[in-house]
C-alpha cells in the first residue's frame, strides 16, 4: 500500500543508519516507533576518512532517537561483504542543516 511506509519490513534486517550529525551506524533493527526512534543491535559505527580506510567502532545495543535520523538503508549483506572497506576513502558525510 502506498500509505504504509512503516519500518516493519526492516525489522531484524541488517541496516545502515545515517544520522543528522553525519555518522553512519550499521546494525540489526530490533524495534521502532512512530517517531522513528529505533533500537539497533550489534551496532557499529563506520568512520570514513580521506586518509585511511573505513574504521569500525563497535557500539553494541543502541537506541537512536528519531529526531536524529536521516536515512535508514537496507544493507544487502552479500554486497556489503564484497566491499573492501580498508580501500574506501571518502570525506565524512556533512551534518544535516535544516
Amino acid at each position: 500500500m502506498a500509505t504504509a511506509t512503516g519500518l516493519e519490513s526492516l525489522v531484524d534486517q541488517y541496516i545502515s543508519v545515517i544520522t543528522n550529525d553525519g555518522r553512519n551506524i550499521v546494525g540489526y533493527l530490533k524495534g521502532f516507533d512512530q517517531a522513528t526512534n529505533i533500537i539497533l543491535d550489534e551496532s557499529h559505527e563506520r568512520v570514513f576518512s580521506t586518509k585511511e580506510g573505513v574504521q569500525q567502532h563497535v557500539l553494541g545495543l543502541f537506541i537512536i532517537r528519531g529526531d536524529n535520523i536521516g536515512v535508514i538503508g537496507e544493507l544487502d549483506e552479500e554486497l556489503d561483504a564484497s566491499l573492501d572497506l580498508s580501500e574506501l576513502r571518502a570525506h565524512p558525510l556533512k551534518p544535516v542543516v535544516h
Partner: protein, 93 residues
C-alpha cells in the same frame, strides 16, 4: 494532505531525493506516509565516488524531516491539476 496525496500518485516513478546534508539518492518511489517519509527502491546515490557510504544499500527509508528536494521527471507532473489543488487547499477547502 495535498502533498501526501500527490506523492501517493507518484508511486512507481523514478525520483531523486536531495537531502539537507547534500546527499542525493535516486530511486523508485515505493511509498510515502503522512510525515512525507519516503521509501525508495533500487537506490543509487548520485555521485557515488563522493558518497560511498551507501554502496551496499538498495532500498532505503528517508525521514521526511531531512528532505530538501524531491526531483521529479518532467512529465511526471500535471501542473494544472496541482495548481488547482493547491489553490483549493490554500482557500481552506
Amino acid at each position: 494532505m495535498l502533498f501526501f496525496s500527490y506523492f501517493k500518485d507518484l508511486v512507481g516513478q523514478e525520483v531523486t531525493v536531495e537531502l539537507k546534508n547534500d546527499l542525493a539518492i535516486r530511486g523508485t518511489l515505493h511509498s510515502v506516509d503522512q510525515y512525507l517519509n519516503i521509501k525508495l527502491e533500487n537506490t543509487k546515490v548520485v555521485d557515488q565516488d563522493k558518497y560511498p557510504h551507501m554502496l551496499s544499500v538498495r532500498n532505503c527509508f528517508i525521514r521526511g524531516s531531512v528532505v530538501r528536494y524531491v526531483q521529479l521527471p518532467k512529465d511526471g507532473v500535471d501542473v494544472d491539476l496541482l495548481h488547482d489543488a493547491a489553490r483549493r487547499e490554500a482557500r481552506g477547502g
